[in-house]
C-alpha cells in the first residue's frame, strides 16, 4: 500500500492528462457563455456577421482554456478589434457588451469599458501626449479600451500632429500587454480604411475587422419596439402601421443614421404625445393613455408631409440636404 499505489495513481493521472478526455460541454455550461450570447441575441437585432464572430471568439477562448488544462501552450490570441460601419449601427453598444463577454470568457480580468476619443489621447504641446495616452491606457487595463472615431488620431495633413505619437504608444501596448487590455477602434468604413492605409502597423495588429451592416426596415421596426418597451411606452396598432410607413420613407432621406434616427423620431413622437395629452388636459387620463403612442403622434412628422427630416427648416433641408445628422 501507500507509496506504490500513489505512484500508480500518479502515472494513471498523467496518462489521463496526456491523452485524456475533456468535457467541452461541461466547460461551456460552467462559463455561462450561453447566457451572454442569448442576451446578445435578444437585445441586439440583426447584426448577424457580428454575432457570428462573437460566437467564434467565444469558441476559440473556450477551446484555448481546455488546451491550457493539457498544458498545450499557445500564444494568447490577440483580440484587438476594429468596428466599422455607418452611423447608428450599434458599434458602441456592441463594444459595451464586448467587455462583459470577454470577462465571462476569462480573457480580461475586470471587463470595464473605457471610451475615449482623440481629445483624451492626444496632447496639445510637446511632451503632453505620452502621459495622457498612458493614463488612459492604465485606466483601461483589465478591460476594454474603446477608441471612438479612431481615424481622427492620425492627421496626415499636419506632420507635426501629436496623434502619431499616441498611435505609437498604443501599438506598443497592444503588442506587449495583450493579456491586460483589449483595444477596439471604431469609425466609419471609408475613413478607417484610409487610417489603416497610412498606419499599416495598426492594421496588422488588429486581428478582427468587423463591418456593421445597415439595418433593414424590419429590423428597425423590431429595434423600435425594443426601445419603446425599455421606456415603458407602446404603440397602438394604427401607430404601428404609421411607423411601418415612416421607416422606409426616412431611410430614403439623406443623413439617415439607422437606429439613431429612429431613436430621435421616437423622442419627437414622445414630445407630441405629451403635447397631445397636455392639450386635452380637461379629460381624465388612464395609465394606458400615458403609455400609448397614437398614430397621430407619428403622422405629424414632417417626413410624411414634406419629405424632409424633422428638426430642419423645410427649405434648408430640401436645398442643402443638411440638418438632422443624428
Amino acid at each position: 500500500m501507500g507509496k506504490s499505489d500513489d505512484a500508480v495513481a500518479a502515472i494513471v493521472s498523467r496518462h489521463a492528462q496526456e491523452d485524456g478526455v475533456v468535457d467541452l460541454e461541461a466547460e461551456f455550461r460552467a462559463s455561462n457563455i450561453q447566457e451572454v450570447l442569448d442576451t446578445l441575441d435578444r437585445e441586439l437585432i440583426g447584426l448577424m456577421p457580428i454575432k457570428t464572430r462573437i460566437r467564434e471568439i467565444a469558441a476559440l477562448l473556450l477551446v484555448e482554456r481546455l488546451r491550457k488544462q493539457f498544458a498545450l501552450t499557445s500564444e494568447t490570441p490577440t483580440l484587438h478589434m476594429c468596428f466599422t460601419g455607418n452611423p447608428g449601427t450599434g458599434k458602441t453598444t456592441v463594444a459595451m457588451r464586448m467587455g462583459e463577454i470577454l470577462k465571462r470568457l476569462g480573457y480580461v480580468r475586470e471587463g470595464h469599458l473605457v471610451t475615449v476619443t482623440r481629445d483624451d489621447l492626444v496632447g496639445q504641446y510637446i511632451g503632453h501626449t505620452a502621459p495622457k495616452t498612458k493614463e488612459v491606457i492604465k485606466k483601461a487595463m483589465g478591460g476594454v479600451l474603446f477608441i471612438d472615431e479612431a481615424y481622427y488620431l492620425y492627421k496626415p495633413e499636419n506632420e507635426r500632429d501629436y496623434g502619431a505619437e499616441s498611435i505609437e504608444i498604443l501599438l506598443q501596448i497592444m503588442e506587449n500587454h495583450r493579456d491586460d487590455l483589449v483595444v477596439i477602434l471604431a469609425g466609419y468604413k471609408d475613413k478607417m480604411d484610409q487610417f489603416f492605409m497610412s498606419n499599416p502597423g495598426m492594421r496588422s495588429r488588429i486581428a478582427h475587422h468587423l463591418d456593421f451592416p445597415d439595418y433593414s426596415a424590419d429590423e428597425l421596426m423590431a429595434i423600435t419596439k425594443l426601445m419603446l418597451a425599455d421606456q415603458s411606452y407602446r404603440l397602438s396598432p394604427e401607430a404601428e402601421r404609421a411607423l411601418a410607413e415612416y421607416v422606409p420613407l426616412r431611410m430614403a432621406l439623406p443623413h439617415f443614421a439607422n437606429a439613431r434616427s429612429i431613436r430621435n423620431a421616437l423622442d419627437r413622437a414622445r414630445l407630441r404625445h405629451a403635447n397631445r395629452l397636455f392639450a386635452a388636459r380637461s379629460q381624465a387620463l388612464t395609465r394606458s393613455d400615458l403609455m400609448t403612442i397614437e398614430a397621430a403622434d407619428i403622422r405629424a412628422s414632417r417626413v410624411f408631409r414634406e419629405g424632409t427630416p424633422d428638426g430642419v427648416p423645410a427649405a434648408v433641408g430640401l436645398v442643402t440636404g443638411q440638418g438632422d445628422l443624428r
Partner: protein, 144 residues
C-alpha cells in the same frame, strides 16, 4: 547598529520580509484598488527614516480598475531609477482619513551601507545622539 539583516532599510509594510515578487505586489495593489484607494509610485535616494515626502514618479493614478497599469508604472520607475528606493503608497481620500493607508518598498539599491551614529556634545556634559545615512554624504543623484 541596525538590528536587521544586511542593513536593509525598514520602513512601511513588509520591509522585514524578503523583497516582494511581482505577483505579491500585484496582490497588494489589488487589495488597495478594491478599497478604492489611489495608488502612487514614489522614489528617493535619501533613506533617512524622517524623510517622509518622496518624489512622485509620474502622475497619481486615480480611477484604475486593474493592478496591471500600476505594475507597468513600477517597472518603468525601476528601469529609470534602478539604484533608488521605490515605494508604492495607497492614498485613501475618504473624509477623516485623507492619508496613505498602505506604503511598501518595491525597489532598493544593491548595496545599502546603513547608518552612522552621530554624537553631539552639548552644554554641560550632555550628549545628543542622531543617525545619518552613509549614502547621504554624497550629493543627491550620486548616492548609490
Amino acid at each position: 547598529m541596525m538590528t536587521n539583516h544586511g542593513n536593509r532599510v525598514t520602513q512601511g509594510q513588509f520591509s522585514f520580509l524578503p523583497d516582494l515578487s511581482d505577483e505579491q505586489i500585484t496582490a497588494q495593489i489589488k487589495y488597495a484598488l478594491k478599497n478604492g484607494w489611489a495608488v502612487n509610485v514614489e522614489y528617493t535616494d535619501d533613506p533617512h527614516p524622517r524623510n517622509t515626502y518622496w518624489e512622485m514618479f509620474g502622475m497619481p493614478m486615480f480611477d484604475l480598475k486593474d493592478p496591471a497599469g500600476i505594475l507597468m508604472e513600477i517597472n518603468h520607475c525601476r528601469e529609470t531609477f534602478p539604484n533608488h528606493y521605490v515605494r508604492v503608497t495607497a492614498f485613501d481620500s475618504t473624509r477623516g482619513w485623507e492619508s496613505p493607508r498602505m506604503s511598501f518598498i518595491v525597489n532598493r539599491p544593491d548595496k545599502e551601507p546603513g547608518f552612522r551614529l552621530v554624537r553631539e556634545e552639548r552644554g554641560g556634559r550632555s550628549m545628543g545622539y542622531t543617525i545619518a545615512p552613509y549614502a547621504a554624504d554624497r550629493p543627491e543623484g550620486e548616492r548609490y
